[in-house]
């Protein structure tokens, strides 16, 4: 087994257009993501990005690093810590915590540009042969 990468990262702008596109593509009807008037009366006072859209950056990191092994052996365990309010530039990072019995475990985070942690948790994958 080749050594898994130690650090993975990517940055992406999540703006309202991306949120709207995701709502349609993922068939998510919750108006808190897309309806400005509805969201104004929510606890957040404005539209927020889907948590799964933010999490998609972590999945992308892992699939770029591990290809289809991610789809066959991947694991995620995350908590959302704060809403992502578009437009927001999100930095997704994965840091290798260790490898045990062939499973690589990463600490993962997504942070807004101001340092707010949007989600945190772990991702795991069995890298296998190169």
């Amino acid at each position: 087994m080749s050594a898994p990468p130690v650090e993975l990262s990517l940055t992406r702008l999540i703006d309202q257009a991306r949120v709207d596109a995701y709502a349609e593509a993922a068939r998510d009807p919750n108006p808190i993501h897309t309806d400005e008037a509805f969201a104004a009366s929510s606890p957040f006072g404005q539209r927020i990005a889907h948590g799964m859209l933010v999490l998609a950056l972590v999945s992308e990191l892992m699939s770029e690093a591990f290809g289809e092994r991610w789809a066959r052996t991947g694991g995620l365990k995350v908590r959302w810590r704060a809403p992502a309010i578009p437009p927001v530039t999100v930095a997704a990072r994965a840091s290798l915590r260790g490898v045990s019995e062939g499973v690589a475990t990463y600490d993962v985070t997504c942070e807004a540009a101001d340092g707010t942690v949007l989600l945190a948790g772990t991702a795991s994958v069995t890298p296998g042969e190169p």
Partner: protein
């Protein structure tokens, strides 16, 4: 008939969700997330499977105002081909009230005709004021 979130209790089963993810849906999903389309020409991005399960869940069970998707776990067990028939089984794994919130954990198992391809646990929290007896 839709399911009432606040009436859910541990062990309750929700109606199974049957769906497919055709190539066009994969392209739309990747365009929305910004992920490279070239990486997923044959199979479905595993997180997209989770997203479609959640969408089906919300269709069956509209979430109350103030509900939050607080946490998520997934195990991806095998690649799914685009267009492959899928069935998701959903069961309430936990239900509790804490600090004014009704907290429900829904366990998911996604299968093709021949294999389990994904397991998940979705944590949803909503204000408990409207909890039914």
């Amino acid at each position: 008939m839709s399911t009432d979130f606040h009436a859910l209790r541990r062990g309750d089963r929700l109606p199974a969700l049957a769906f497919r993810v055709p190539a066009g849906d994969v392209r739309a999903y990747l365009a929305a997330t910004g992920e490279d389309v070239a990486a997923w020409r044959v199979s479905v991005p595993p997180l997209a499977l989770g997203a479609y399960i959640l969408a089906g869940l919300m269709e069956e069970m509209p979430l109350p105002d103030g509900a939050l998707h607080g946490g998520q776990e997934f195990e991806f067990l095998d690649a799914v081909q685009q267009g492959e028939p899928l069935v998701a089984e959903l069961i309430v794994a936990q239900q509790s009230e804490r600090q004014g919130s009704n907290i429900v954990v829904i366990a998911t198992e996604l299968r093709t005709a021949s294999r389990v391809v994904l397991r998940g646990r979705t944590t949803v929290m909503a204000p408990a004021a409207a909890v039914t007896a």
